[in-house]
């Protein structure tokens, strides 16, 4: 009867100490965000403007994509269209095969995570190296990223040190972040220089100029796309915005919402391939046009993948990203996964893994009504575990029958002390009780206390 996410959280962050560490690390990002946001007088107006620009862009997506394609081609890029994950993987594979490429460096792209591009390429014999430090850590550890911005946020320096010792030969026991980074830098620098192709995502695609905007702090997307002769950029169709002026609005929001920086270290606007090189841009649908057709759910396509909703979410902070088992995690992942039709059998239960506190909505830089979206999924695609669904039906039936309700609540009141004991014996109630105390019962129902109060006032 427990939600799938709840059960997995117990294995991904197994003990109170690891949960507390994760919670603290993630919450720090939220605090940095708050400090950065407080320093920008027009931040709330920017959020409103960003949401409106995205709504406009999504509503005109067809013509913006065509304009983007035309301008990108005029600048020398080749634009490909991929209706689904399989098509993306096939397009990339044939581009690489036709050029006899075997070694690829890759910068962070949630879209390629969603489409399973890495495992596909590895299965087809390509050597694919993730170059963002966090992505490299999870790649070496053979696990998925657990956070949108900090992929290895669930790992301690000790764990990363042990991993690097095993995989790239750092000294045993080395856990100093600076020296671990230096070792990864040496290892990856050689791979950058030898790579035959670079694969990247894109934070934005600018329709008026056919440009891609890539944002990183490490500069890995730049090395990975400036050095090899071939650059393949993979992006979801919702990344297109009308103009470079619009990009300014999003860029002022993005890094502040993500890590509390005023802007990321590198924001690169690429228009066409570099001299003597090739630029291929793959536009991917993979369920997005289905979302677009839905009047309410389309709003989730405003998402710019900053991770602010993760950092503030009480469920994500306690459960960790791996508990979601979706490429995009946290509140936004819980509404994207069922919409994009991810095969995970329990992605439909993710909307229930929320307290609906609305904190995600309060921080979202593009004002996605995330907690309303979660609620709408519960309404439109109910996926409660059977026990809970049955319980909800019983309560609903009682509430429709005042007499039955009174009798039942009176019985419960009498049995209250007993419930406290019985509920510890086992089953789902015991799981619920493991971290919660039954509140003390006030001894009378609301109706009784109301009558007593009215009687007292009559006397007075």
């Amino acid at each position: 009867m427990t939600l799938a996410l709840d059960a997995r959280a117990r294995t991904t962050l197994p003990d109170a100490a690891s949960r507390a560490r994760h919670d603290t690390a993630v919450w720090q990002l939220r605090e940095k965000r708050d400090a950065a946001v407080g320093a920008v007088p027009d931040f709330e107006a920017l959020r409103t403007r960003a949401a409106a620009i995205k709504d406009h862009a999504l509503d005109h997506l067809g013509e913006l994509l065509e304009r983007f394609e035309a301008r990108a081609r005029a600048a020398g890029a080749v634009v490909h269209w991929a209706p689904d994950a399989r098509a993306l993987c096939e397009i990339v594979t044939s581009l690489l095969r036709e050029r006899a490429v075997t070694s690829v460096v890759k910068s962070k792209s949630m879209l390629t995570e969603e489409c399973g591009l890495n495992p596909w390429l590895e299965a087809h014999g390509f050597d694919v190296v993730d170059t963002d430090l966090g992505e490299r850590i999870v790649q070496l550890g053979k696990e998925p990223p657990s956070h949108l911005i900090i992929p290895a946020i669930h790992r301690t320096r000790g764990e990363i040190g042990a991993l690097f010792h095993r995989e790239i030969g750092t000294p045993a026991g080395e856990s100093d972040p600076e020296r671990l980074m230096a070792a990864a830098r040496r290892d990856l620098r050689a791979r950058f220089l030898a790579a035959q192709a670079g694969i990247s995502g894109a934070n934005f695609a600018v329709a008026e100029s056919g440009s891609l905007v890539l944002v990183t702090n490490e500069g890995n997307a730049d090395l990975g796309t400036a050095l090899p002769p071939i650059h393949i950029a993979c992006l979801g169709i919702e990344k297109v915005i009308p103009s470079l002026d619009d990009a300014a609005v999003f860029l002022r929001l993005l890094a502040r919402s993500a890590t509390g920086q005023p802007i990321s270290a590198y924001t690169t606007v690429l228009t066409g391939p570099h001299r003597g090189g090739e630029l291929h841009i793959v536009l991917v649908d993979n369920g997005r046009s289905r979302l677009l057709a839905h009047p309410e759910r389309r709003r989730v396509l405003r998402c710019i993948r900053c991770g602010a909703c993760l950092n503030t979410c009480p469920v994500y902070r306690q459960a960790g990203g791996h508990a979601y088992r979706t490429p995009v995690v946290g509140p936004i992942g819980a509404v994207l996964a069922p919409a994009i039709g991810l095969p995970s059998e329990d992605s439909r239960t993710l909307p229930y893994a929320s307290s609906l506190c609305g904190s995600c909505t309060a921080v979202c830089p593009v004002r996605i009504d995330l907690h309303e979206q979660l609620l709408a999924w519960r309404r439109d695609a109910p996926a409660l575990p059977r026990g809970l669904a049955w319980g909800a039906r019983v309560v609903a039936a009682l509430m429709e029958r005042p007499r039955a309700w009174r009798i039942t609540t009176r019985l419960v009141r009498v049995a209250w002390p007993l419930l406290g004991v019985v509920s510890r014996w086992g089953g789902p109630a015991a799981a619920w009780r493991s971290a919660r105390e039954l509140p003390e019962h006030p001894g009378a129902s609301f109706r009784e206390r109301w009558r007593q109060r009215a009687a007292r006032q009559d006397v007075a």
């Binding site: 397009i91 671990l180 980074m181 169709i237 924001t267 066409g272 389309r298």
Partner: protein, 234 residues
């Protein structure tokens, strides 16, 4: 509506396959949009400070090193001094756009635009001209025109950007409007705010993740020498 893909070059198999995909994707996307939601127009950003002091403060806050501003006459000595101090005998490479601002020196290479990008892998200091600085985020725009070897900006151990001190704006909105008309005509436009960095291991900030370990912005004024100023604005 179902405009056929007008591929200019005969594409490989994957390209031909994707032309059918293009038509069906665009059809689905078009039918989902009403084309009635208006664009909200430009963001009316409040007037914030665009002074060198503010820019320098923010730049230092993101791990960058603000230098100067110096006069045009002092620029060459200041830039070469910074570079030599840090290069410790290693390669110093200047993009032509920056080299014209400096006196010729035997130990400063001028980047060859036709060289392989990988040939800059061992550069100690790169000197590049910056186009525009943004006070609110400490970022400097580097134009493709001024830095045709984009890889140099990322391979060098340290990067020195030469920025006309009057070319400062308050925010990114004003920055994009103040760029020259051909800012996107040369492959890349790169905004740089401090050195390469990561906090991927337990949120510990480390500089020099993949790219430069240090980034300095040397401001210079152009007004003390009209001839030099024209030269710098070329």
């Amino acid at each position: 509506m179902s405009r056929v893909d007008r591929a200019s070059a005969p594409g490989p198999a994957a390209l031909r396959r994707s032309s059918g995909a293009r038509v069906s994707m665009l059809q689905a996307i078009r039918s989902a949009g009403s084309r009635t939601v208006p664009h909200p127009g430009p963001h009316p950003a409040p007037s914030l400070d665009a002074s060198w002091a503010t820019f320098a403060g923010v730049l230092a806050g993101v791990g960058g090193e603000p230098c100067g501003p110096v006069t045009r006459a002092e620029l060459s000595a200041a830039a070469l001094g910074w570079a030599r101090d840090r290069a410790a005998g290693g390669r110093i490479v200047a993009e032509p756009s920056a080299a014209v601002l400096l006196e010729a020196a035997a130990d400063v290479e001028i980047a060859d635009a036709s060289a392989a990008p990988t040939s800059f892998a061992d550069v100690a200091v790169a000197i590049v001209r910056g186009e525009l600085g943004v006070a609110e985020c400490g970022a400097v725009a580097v134009l493709g025109r001024d830095a045709p070897q984009r890889a140099l900006l990322f391979l060098a151990e340290r990067v020195l950007l030469l920025l006309p001190a009057i070319r400062l704006v308050a925010d990114l909105h004003r920055a994009f409007s103040a760029l020259p008309a051909d800012a996107l005509a040369h492959h890349h436009l790169t905004w740089i705010s401090g050195p390469s960095k990561t906090a991927d291991i337990e949120q510990t900030l480390v500089f020099g993740a993949h790219g430069p370990r240090a980034l300095a912005v040397l401001g210079f004024s152009e007004d003390d020498d009209p001839a030099a100023s024209r030269d710098a604005d070329r």
